[in-house]
């Protein structure tokens, strides 16, 4: 087979369901354009030694940990009873759908709850699907159902000693910049830092858990429950400038994640 023949044969490659996939992409684009959402971005993992250097530089610049006060509304304005981890969400989320996902056990369950950057209550919800699991961000006081968004995955990433924090970030109209992820067992807390007017500010993430029971119901291995975290940053923060830092029970840094650089291109996988 020569190169021309290979090119010709590859040009005949047809992905089944192409039309539906294109429609879903167009729908996602329309939705993102309607609510001015930015597309999800994945955080890149930073090797420990690089992060130590980054931490040293940041410490030298003088970090002052500041409690975040949401603009225009104090957190105390919300009088809410936060739904606990492991409980059903306040409002039933949209069932997994979109063509290749169907609802499956377990039922929607809160894996973390707290307040968004605007001080509104949120519930991070886990539910089963036919080909994997789905996560959604529910905002019981939000303007419309599904405002927080969500997504499904065939697998749940697993953090390790080498990569103790796997972080993902999205921006949404309802909750602002959201960063969440999976943690290695030794991680006990996560702090996010970001610049505001030239100064570094920090905020603690809300910690949560995908329990053994949820994994078992989802058809997974119950011996490896996942610790998770989620945090919301105020509007105006550029997601590319956020660093998520993981600490162990002694308060020592065990890893960090920062935004990816599009120029970081593949070498040997």
């Amino acid at each position: 087979m020569n190169e021309n023949e290979l090119a010709l044969r590859l040009s005949r490659l047809e992905i089944p369901g192409r039309g539906a996939a294109l429609d879903r992409c167009l729908g996602a684009y329309r939705e993102s354009a309607t609510v001015h959402e930015r597309p999800p971005k994945r955080l890149r993992f930073v090797p420990r030694r690089q992060f130590r250097l980054a931490l040293a530089l940041t410490a030298a610049a003088g970090i002052v940990a500041l409690a975040f006060t949401p603009p225009g509304r104090a957190v105390a304005d919300w009088v809410v009873d936060l739904v606990g981890v492991g409980e059903p969400p306040t409002v039933a989320p949209e069932p997994p759908a979109g063509g290749r996902w169907n609802a499956a056990p377990p039922q929607p369950t809160v894996i973390a709850s707290g307040l968004t950057a605007r001080g509104e209550p949120f519930e991070w919800v886990f539910q089963g699907a036919s080909k994997g699991v789905c996560f959604s961000l529910e905002l019981p006081a939000g303007r419309f159902p599904g405002e927080g968004g969500g997504g499904c995955s065939e697998q749940i990433p697993r953090a390790s000693a080498d990569y103790p924090i796997l972080a993902y970030g999205t921006s949404s109209s309802g909750a602002g910049v959201e960063v969440n992820g999976i943690l290695a067992p030794e991680v006990k807390s996560v702090e996010l830092s970001y610049p505001v007017d030239g100064e570094t500010q920090t905020i603690d993430a809300v910690m949560g858990r995908i329990s053994s029971e949820l994994l078992r119901k989802a058809g997974g291995n119950p011996n490896n429950p996942r610790d998770v975290f989620i945090a919301f940053l105020p509007k105006g923060v550029r997601a590319e400038e956020v660093t998520a830092t993981a600490y162990d029970s002694e308060g020592d840094v065990v890893g960090a994640a920062t935004w990816p650089d599009l120029d970081d291109l593949p070498g040997a996988p």
Partner: protein, 194 residues
């Protein structure tokens, strides 16, 4: 009454017709997207969807992942047009994002060997027809991800070795050697099938 899905499908057909019958000024489309014209963005998606998903599929060999990767890359590319030089072609920029994400997906998958939700990867390959010969698909399957990346960029997307080297920030010699090894391995695989 047509359902929402059927309306969407009809819009898709109109878009395809427009792309085929009229020359497209891509730079003008990009300027329109920057000005908030969603229809222009949709036309860009329709123009580039097939190559984006095919490339992602050739690298990951996972149909579901290829859709996710192509969609994320499209939204990322369109969302980042403010940083894009509209005098340059859109495709290489998009393809670079697609390839990066596909390779990242493969890397993440290799790190997730112990993930308990059973791996569905490659299951689709065995049950679906992809419009190409089974022996070619098997030969591609036998390649490593980096070799599949090279094959996708050179022989599906049509980039030269120098362009691939520039897009992937690799030495040109590395690109050439990976391509040659990939073709040699595919030839051996396909001879073995017969």
């Amino acid at each position: 009454l047509p359902t929402a899905d059927r309306i969407s499908h009809m819009e898709g057909l109109v878009g395809v017709t427009e792309v085929r019958d009229e020359p497209v000024d891509e730079a003008a489309l990009i300027r329109s997207v920057r000005d908030g014209d969603r229809a222009a963005g949709e036309q860009l998606i329709r123009m580039h969807w097939d190559d984006a998903q095919r490339a992602a599929f050739l690298i990951t060999l996972d149909r579901a992942a290829s859709e996710d990767i192509a969609q994320e890359a499209m939204l990322s590319a369109l969302g980042g047009l403010d940083r894009f030089d509209a005098s340059r072609p859109f495709a290489p920029w998009l393809h670079r994002i697609v390839v990066n994400r596909a390779v990242d997906w493969m890397r993440a998958r290799s790190r997730r060997r112990e993930v308990e939700l059973e791996d569905q990867v490659l299951a689709n390959v065995e049950v679906d027809s992809y419009g190409i010969d089974d022996d070619l698909l098997s030969a591609i399957h036998a390649l490593g991800p980096e070799q599949r990346t090279m094959v996708a960029m050179r022989h599906l997307l049509g980039y030269g070795e120098g362009e691939i080297a520039e897009l992937l920030d690799l030495p040109r010699g590395t690109v050439g050697s990976r391509l040659r090894r990939a073709l040699d391995q595919m030839s051996v695989s396909m001879r073995g099938e017969r």
